[in-house]
């Protein structure tokens, strides 16, 4: 076996690491616009899915322009924030801020039956990684019209079931305010939920931690909108 000096080993590894870094960073920079585009399309598809519009990667753009008639950002007092594009709000950053500083995006969808739906982005922590999604509310700002949840790495067959329609259908028609007008969010209940309560849904057996995360996500992300919802209701 050939022997190499220590200096050679150092030089070799330094050159190799610099070369690899150069290749990878230039590839990342070249491909970033395309990846960004894909990511936006994915977001648009998710927004559309929350108001029950199916789309594909190719028609997402046009369907989004057709059904999402306006989007804006409000603050925790319910006032509209000027100069911020709802689509550009980075939810990862927003959830870390205190409520008063949050930019709260609202997407307004106008469906074929002329009904307006208000789509609210949500983001939180599951068991293994982030969970996120969109909640669409009817124009009473109380009843859930549809949801779309996604996750990065929840357990397949357990936590990852939050993306399935059988679970998300449970949210349809539920209300985020109690009968006497107090904000309650939706409780995801372990075991049997109270069938008479419109503020509860059943969790998923075996994915308590993921559904707890989902429960917290809904509370934390919908709560700052309370002022805006109440303004709109009156």
């Amino acid at each position: 076996m050939k022997s190499f000096s220590n200096i050679y080993i150092f030089v070799f590894s330094t050159v190799m690491v610099i070369l690899v870094a150069a290749i990878l960073s230039s590839a990342a920079m070249l491909l970033q616009p395309l990846q960004q585009k894909n990511f936006e399309i994915e977001q648009k598809r998710n927004i559309l899915a929350s108001i029950t519009i199916e789309s594909t990667a190719t028609d997402a753009e046009s369907l989004y322009n057709k059904y999402i008639t306006e989007s804006f950002v409000v603050d925790s007092k319910g006032k509209i924030k000027e100069g911020v594009d709802a689509f550009d709000v980075n939810m990862t950053d927003e959830v870390r801020k205190p409520d008063e500083e949050k930019s709260l995006p609202v997407f307004v969808g106008l469906l074929d039956d002329e009904k307006k739906e208000y789509v609210i982005p949500v983001r939180g922590a599951g068991l293994w990684g982030p969970i996120y999604g969109y909640v669409a509310l009817n124009d009473d700002f109380n009843t859930i019209f549809g949801t779309n949840f996604g996750h990065d790495g929840e357990t397949p067959g357990l936590g990852s079931e939050i993306t399935t329609s059988w679970f998300q259908d449970r949210f349809k028609g539920r209300k985020i305010f109690s009968d006497d007008g107090v904000f309650t969010s939706i409780d995801i209940v372990k075991g049997k939920s109270d069938p008479s309560s419109l503020n509860q849904v059943d969790g998923i057996t075996g994915s308590t931690l993921t559904t707890n995360g989902l429960d917290n996500m809904l509370k934390d992300c919908l709560k700052p909108y309370e002022a805006y919802f109440k303004n709109q209701m009156n």
Partner: protein, 214 residues
Amino acid sequence: MKDREPLFSSKNMKLLTNPLNEDNPITVQVLGICSALAITAKLEPAIVMSFSVLAVLSVSNVVISMLRNLIPPRIRIIVQLTVIAAMVILVDQFLKAYAYDVSKQLSVFVGLIITNCIIMGRLEAFAMTNKPWPAFLDGVGNAAGYGVILVLVAFFRELFGSGELFGFPIFEKIGLYNIGYENNGMMILPPMALMVVGIIIWVQRSRKRELIED
């Protein structure tokens, strides 16, 4: 001076064809099983995974083989890993840019190609001691051997688990559900991949008895 070996000499062809059958990385060497369980519930991700492994393995094999006389043996594993990791990241970036849906389905498993034992195994056992061209053929051969099994497993799992092929509802179209047939949900779960691989190994060994160990 020795005559140059023809590009597709019988020795070189063996590098390409051996891993498809008697030296198959999955069924004979039993490597790379983990990914075979994870991404074979549907055909499309299985095929994309196979091509990703093909790209990673053939290119890393060639790179390592070209560098084989320059790599200090003491840090060769680190060098191999760096080359593999760089290739895997490139493949992942390309998938995210050009095949976003599939890259979402494969999620972490593209990144996990780095730990696929087939790749390190080939670099260490073959590329370190052979010229670039045979190393390339060896890489293509082994990745193809891996891919063939992946696609075979995915074919059975998608067909009997979801009644579809490439998402096309084949059982529905031929009216199998009308006579009381039901999809087997078990086929979608990872353990069934192991069973299917086991059946493939059984069939292969009963046809080629010299593969049977004592």
